[in-house]
Symmetry: D2
Subunit: 372 residues, 4 copies
């Protein structure tokens, strides 16, 4: 498969996630980054482009212009990565989708539910595809877990538990911390921990279990004086089919770096996985010794093997999981197979609805919100 | 210190917890078990007594008689251990306290709040002491954690997280499983997972943090058909001083044996501990590498050292922690120091109030119950 | 079973291992400690006896007199625990065996090979039994491993790996450290790390595998200036049946408290166990997911279950394993079953021969020494 | 920095390590793969080239021709990756170095000591650079360890322990396992476990400690009938400066996937690292609680930070470490800084000398071989 041509909006100098998307796009050789609007400030945009190795004539400061010009070029981009603050995801994505350029967008989909619905409509109307990088779904052992649940290895799902703990916002961040800054602005982010990591947690629960929440009760709280968004989120969930569960997402849990853990308990068995040790998956069956399933190992299944690059014992990490989403997006774009099932926009809407419901529940002392 | 004379009610043949109490009483040589009413069935009681090595004239089938006879003997027991189903704790304890015999009682204190209040009054009126074996508080690293919190090593407490996960009730137990049987009867147990292990979780949170809950919202649920008590409990808690937290206690979490974990997060640092790996304690301070504090190791503090028997790297376990409570009870009984602060009955009442509040909250769709 | 009467030689005030033996003897109620020669200094001996709760008329300062007097009493001791420095094990044990009093002796058996042979002869000639407390063999998961190897779960044994790492002698110890002091004297100890912990490592390898070394090549070394015994020992071993292996025992490995680990690799499977996490055993079979076998769990076998006191997830530790040896000794003494197979003296001789061979190999630049 | 042009010899369809090198070369955007001789069979070579996306006119079946043609092109390759069986490393590397094309070669350097010396001379005579991919040295926590040792954090180094355990050769491999096949041929591989993974272990010990072995005693053994190379290697080492250590490399240790572990013990502290959990490093200082240093965390030093791509808690893995070597090679090639210190050929020679010494020691019953 020849490499597709990729553009990027956001992700200039000093941005963490832009660099991640670029490495992820490159790892499997599916995309060549050829254009970008790395900043809305022209000087910064062009400096970043030069540093990244983008030709000057394909460096833009305005995403609307970028979409128009690239769409008109014979060698225009096949897809664009959006790695801006959350409130810009919607407008930018719609600009590219309007030109039938596929979009690979960082999560959450948008900062508000209204933006998400508008974007969903735009995605449905476009010949381009919309992909959302819920990157933790790219880990082989997460795929393994999903297949095992679908095959009934756990029996009926009873309990789904996701914790996502970080500590980098335990104190007010330094003034010049760019990432912390826009996340702390409710308008730009649409929420704090709930939007930044809570959406990952909820998406992971749904992805592995195949279920969606029927109702939830949430408490978003803030532990640092002066902070205007939540930094700790707890959500009790009732899922379809009678399962229940809990999500705890915190950015003030000292000693936790990026400690995302998932446990799914069923009537026959259980699975446990941790993002910081992502190459293994614990599988427990009632009245048997627990087993440690390894990526690339003897017990790995088709879903895991399909996204495994190197042998067992040679750790794959965060970038590899992220790159898997890029590779899968490239395959859909190149083959045009999967439009109706194109992952992303529906999951994205579900995530924004989740945030919205958590915020409404919190305003009413953790009242139960119906999501169906 | 000469060994004290101990009696026991309950804990006959086949009982798990009776044997635990006997080993705990014996380990440090503080008690000699000399009398018992091991069953209300005379034949079983005497058979158990013979097996355990109790003289026939001090084997009883009736606890009321045992209290009266032992109180009258010159060599009568100094204390009695109560290891019966929960609903009998109150009446038995009161019978011995009425004769000024000290009581060491398995948790929870009682099956109902009314029983707990009655027992508290009886304990206050007696010259005997009342001790409740919240045995997880006997672990050296739990003592270490408590001292560190009290000394301010964590700053202001923000979050307290306790999980207590088991899987032995994931299916309906066998008919002849005596322990499972009485626990499954609401009248005898006063509750399912919430009373059996939820009370341990809540007690541990309070013991280490020095806080008590101001309000809670609970969801008790049942996953096995025909079961009449809860087997999974989730409780959101608001503590005094603005801390909040969560308890999850489950007996249907396949792959978990007795997986009790505690995490306390503050504004400056955090502590994490796990009962199945009890000899270590994780201590994290903001912007430093996390440290692994070990029982008996260089960083163990006075509170931990006071209850440490053997050097670092030589694991102490569940029985040692339990034995610490027995040793501490013996010291109070022998020295008569500590009456006003006698641990146990107030903690016991708090635990029963906790269960009661969780049950009321559940009946009203996880409504918030005020505990102050 | 009525409790047997126990005496003790050594183990007075401030001694670590004496206290361990007393707790181990007491835990299962098999022994009552009634007599002792806790020190060769009369004042210290009687002070220790009083502290421990031994009647004055059964406190001795001379072990020869103790043996004679106790043998003559109608209520004399059934067995004696020896917890002195190594070079006294032989003379003391022989004194009691000469009066047909059974001996429970801390390891190693003796400080020299000549002493060991003499003691073996004395044990064979006595009506008393000789037991050596290779206490790590008392752990349930070690028993599990031994049964699994014997049943062929691993196929042909290929490799046996034992590491025993400590760090308490990384620097010259304080002058008043009694335990460190006699161990550092070659005459009293018979060796450094090799005798103190190397013998445990070798015994564990033999116990689990059922094999004995055919030849070995050893390097004993010393890392602290002025130390007169080894503090680090490495031994390559050829076992009967073609298996080979390695032992590394060190007391200068900073960061290790009492880190004894065993791995046995066969043609079909492997087992791995660690003393600091003793309640689990890893079992790996070729081309299958590894399994975590737990003490008391579904996969525990008869050998493990026979020495398991409390349910899975409730950790048993070092004292429980030690107590198992005391209980097993009590059963042999009480039932007089097992004389011909009486564990201990042959294993003890094997251990002293191992130390002797390691010392001779070291003197000749790790030359291979034949042990058969 | 503009991407350099890369060629590859070996690594065609079905090869594991060729694919690894391609991903590693691509991840940081430092190299574009533009030419290759992926097989000596023309049909296979061209099929692989097409699959990989190499233009037909730059697909070669003969490495000598490739070196000549590429050297003559204006847009010829700057460097070539060699990923063939070991016995071909020398001839191929020399062919490219003769044309002043830099070489990035998989380890070990060569299959024989004579080849290594010849290649070293060729590297010194060339304007091209020679790099050897001892890829485990690319892990951030390995760099962290090296800096800490160099800075004296451990005091004087006493003990260096490296284990490298795999199980994929526990039985005779399937006939069609290409990787296993050439490794099993002494002529192609130059050795079994000792060359394949033993060299990694020894290199890691030297890289982190800054020491080289003064002498060694080795036992290479074979556990599978009919196998013509070793599958298990044990080496006792005396290092410069009085440190000693041990390497155990095995490919028949069931339950181990790619379990490379390093421990370095000094007079003041110790470090422990495991390749399967590569983002953390244990640091223990005498009489302090052990610390867990994390990649990207607060305690990471300059050496680690320089090769860290993404934040703490977002695992980097094997490919990232490998990519670091490619990036560093690109920097040397592009800047021409570092010729005299060009890493690789001296380390490579050291590795081949190590293998040679191990084989000679084994032939003489583990006799000590002097390496200085």
């Amino acid at each position: 498969m020849a490499a597709l041509k990729l553009g990027m909006v956001g992700g200039g100098q000093g941005a963490f996630i832009g660099s991640v998307h670029r490495m992820a796009a490159r790892l499997d050789g599916c995309f060549d980054l050829v254009a970008g609007a790395f900043s809305s400030d022209p000087a910064r945009a062009h400096a970043s482009a030069a540093e990244i190795g983008i030709d000057g004539d394909r460096s833009y400061a305005d995403f609307t212009e970028m979409a128009k010009v690239e769409a008109a070029r014979a060698d225009g981009i096949d897809a664009v990565s959006i790695v801006t603050p959350n409130h810009l995801h919607g407008p930018i994505a719609e600009a590219f989708l309007a030109h039938d350029i596929s979009v690979i967008c960082d999560k959450p989909m948008t900062a508000t539910l209204a933006q998400a619905k508008s974007l969903l409509a735009a995605a449905e109307a476009s010949k381009g595809y919309f992909f959302l990088t819920h990157n933790y779904t790219g880990y082989p052992m997460v795929r393994q877990a999903r297949q095992m649940v679908a095959e009934g290895a756990l029996g009926n799902i009873r309990i789904i538990e996701v914790n996502y703990l970080q500590d980098w916002l335990s104190e007010a961040p330094a003034e010049d911390n760019k990432q912390a800054k826009w996340r702390a602005d409710p308008v730009q982010s649409g929420g704090g921990a709930i939007g930044d990591i809570g959406t990952h947690a909820y998406n992971l629960a749904c992805f592995v279990s195949g279920l969606r929440a029927a109702s939830l009760s949430a408490t978003l709280s803030t532990h640092v004086d002066g902070r205007m968004v939540d930094d700790d989120a707890r959500i009790a969930l009732q899922y379809d089919c009678g399962a229940h569960g809990h999500i705890w997402a915190s950015q003030v849990a000292i000693g936790n770096e990026n400690n995302l853990t998932l446990a799914v308990y069923g009537s026959k068995g259980a699975l446990r996985w941790a993002q910081e040790d992502p190459n293994v998956l614990w599988f427990s069956e009632l009245a048997k010794a627990s087993q440690l399933i390894t990526r690339g190992g003897a017990a790995s299944n088709e879903a895991a093997s399909a996204v495994t690059r190197i042998p067992a014992g040679h750790p794959e990490g965060y970038l590899e999981a992220f790159a898997t989403l890029y590779r899968e997006a490239a395959e859909v774009i190149a083959t045009k197979v999967g439009k109706n099932t194109s992952i992303g926009s529906l999951d994205g809407l579900e995530g924004v609805r989740f945030v919205d419901a958590c915020q409404r529940s919190t305003q009413n002392r953790a009242s139960w919100i119906d999501l169906r």
